[in-house]
Subunit: 335 residues, 2 copies
DNA sequence: CCAGTTCATGCAATCGATTGCGCAAAGGCG
DNA sequence: CGCCTTTGCGCAATCGATTGCATGAACTGG
């Protein structure tokens, strides 16, 4: 403890070897003899020393960090407070940490189209995970054409250039709507903002399910804010102005579904007896809400694994395809 | 566009000056002549060049990044999905970005007591913002005694060593409970997990308010999970086993309050007529829920400003005191 | 017109780790 | 026992920017 060990040179002196050997020992290269390596590692441990990642990064031309960015294209000022995003980010943090990478979080309000290019130019991370394409698909495609290490969570649309990982929103929408129809709903309202590409696909799926039903079922589209916080007012004002309340609600997210249930029960309508409500995402909340929410499950941890694996493949220079996972209908008590 | 500009040397050659001058121009030092500086900056812009932050950081011995840490001491496996945290992190991201710092997010499951020291030793960031002390006050204090650049969001307790920024939880609890008493509640239930220091202070405030009322008011403590997602079951099972339902609920967070309202209305109890419910945090959700939630407001953006300012003072080596903000009672329709 | 400042810029060392190349010692083999 | 391969380690260049010090030009004033 006499001397302070700040660099591998200090440690090298202590161990009586060259800094090169220290570097190799700490990096676990097999060229150093096992005993030397062990001795050096023990010494490092004792002195609470770990080599400067900055210097390493400079030399190896890697950053050791992944940028996680959330664009908020559809609504200015929307906060990323949806538990779905939080859950995704939490899982990403675990996965990236495990691989020895930092998670650098950026929140972007895409005022100009070059926000992504600027982040790429800044060159502070090894790659990007973009959460939610929102309405920024063109920007992502533009960047993807010359920048490989980027993967987006979200929808896959035909012809897209960038790599995406997500669930099949169209199928999810169809599953949800078909379920409502099977439960006897004849007037179904879609709650969500179709400006976000993911949600518009869910809406299309809903339309398909209605069409498959072969008539007798009506689909209404109720535009709401994407921020679940704000959807309550939208729903309430819709109910105020409609003559006949729909008997089924397909909410584009669990948060919206929960809000809808609150609004409905405040008006004396019982879920699921009078009205049926299905959500989307299968957040932890959905399982324990009252009533427990029927919903479409997106496999977050599976998705995160794919996101990270594809990103690292791309960092190594290998191209990857997009991944479309299957959503799953989870039937609980709200339908 | 002929040559590729990767380093200040490339740019220096293009501009016909030395790399030193380029460095100074880009850093905005006043010693370079205005025209040279302008010319160099324009050139950099044209080539989408920005100097390597890694190399800069190595030379200047700074990291350009702040670690944001969320410890999860009270409950294993709890996910940081509470919108409160998300909102806080979003605000932090904005504030730090504005100051030119990256936000490195780490999620920590404090299995051993040295988790914080390890992060400090890793030396990848200039400072830490710890969100929510949870039950890790001792760990924070231990680190704070020799490590300055760290600020925690959360409670202030007498004698703590580390710097905290937060609202007065004791006062908040008192305000909330006093409000319920004024509204006529005589049996008040506290919903929350007092293992988290912040929540136990709110509970103490509640006790104080009850004491001030001078008898006739009863305070019940209903232990719930801290994860709001899981509190529904706790509340439901409590209601199943109690003979007389309380007429007032003080929920330790808005999410728990909303859950409570759902559970209550599912049992045919009307809020606020039969039972009054007050929350905590004043999330965006609270304003638009049904009914709109009476709650205790924590000023997040003000808090974030204090967090960041104190942290940067500490990074510069100046000690700072803790900040205790006043919470505010927001009366809406749930009480 | 000259000595003393001021101003803008260049030189070169430095931050701390990584790694290609070379060398010496040790081991293998006939 | 002598030659060739393997093994373990050290030398020194390198990653890209910053910055104290030096230098020469321009400027000031007498």
């Amino acid at each position: 403890m006499a001397v302070k060990v700040r660099t591998i040179y200090d440690l090298a002196e202590l161990a009586g070897v060259s800094p090169a050997t220290v570097s190799r020992a700490l990096a676990g290269k097999q060229v150093v003899s096992a005993k030397t390596a062990e001795r050096i590692r023990k010494l490092a441990e004792e002195h609470g020393f770990s080599p400067s990642s900055i210097a390493r990064n400079l030399r190896t031309r890697r950053r050791g960090a992944i940028g996680v960015v959330i664009p908020l294209g559809h609504e200015r000022g929307q906060h990323i407070s949806d538990p779905f995003f939080m859950t995704l980010i939490g899982a990403l943090a675990d996965e990236l940490t495990e691989r020895g990478f930092d998670l650098v979080l950026s929140r972007v309000i895409p005022d100009r189209d070059n926000w992504l290019q600027k982040m790429i130019d800044a060159d502070r991370v090894d790659g990007f995970i973009v959460i939610g394409q929102s309405d920024q698909s063109k920007v992502l495609d533009a960047a993807a054409s010359h920048f490989l290490p980027m993967v987006a969570w979200g929808a896959f649309v035909q012809g897209q250039v960038h790599c995406s990982v997500g669930t099949d929103n169209y199928l999810g929408g169809r599953l949800a709507t078909r379920h409502l129809i099977e439960r006897g709903c004849r007037t179904i309202a879609f709650l969500g903002n179709p400006r976000a590409i993911e949600l518009s696909l869910r809406l299309e799926g809903a339309r398909a399910a209605v069409a498959e039903a072969g008539g007798g079922v009506e689909l209404l589209e109720i535009p709401t804010h994407l921020a679940a916080e704000l959807s309550g007012e939208d729903i309430a004002s819709y109910l105020d102005h409609v003559e006949k309340v729909p008997d089924g609600f397909f909410a584009a997210s669990d948060m919206i579904a929960l809000t809808a249930i609150q609004v409905l029960s405040a008006r004396g309508l019982s879920v699921p007896d009078d009205v049926k409500v299905i959500g989307y995402d299968d957040l932890a909340l959905a399982r324990t809400s009252v009533p427990p929410l029927t919903t479409i499950r997106q496999d977050i941890s599976g998705g995160v694994t794919h996101l990270v694996e594809n990103l690292f493949k791309r960092i190594e220079g290998k191209a990857t395809g997009s991944v479309v996972l299957n959503p799953e209908l989870i039937v609980r008590s709200s339908t």
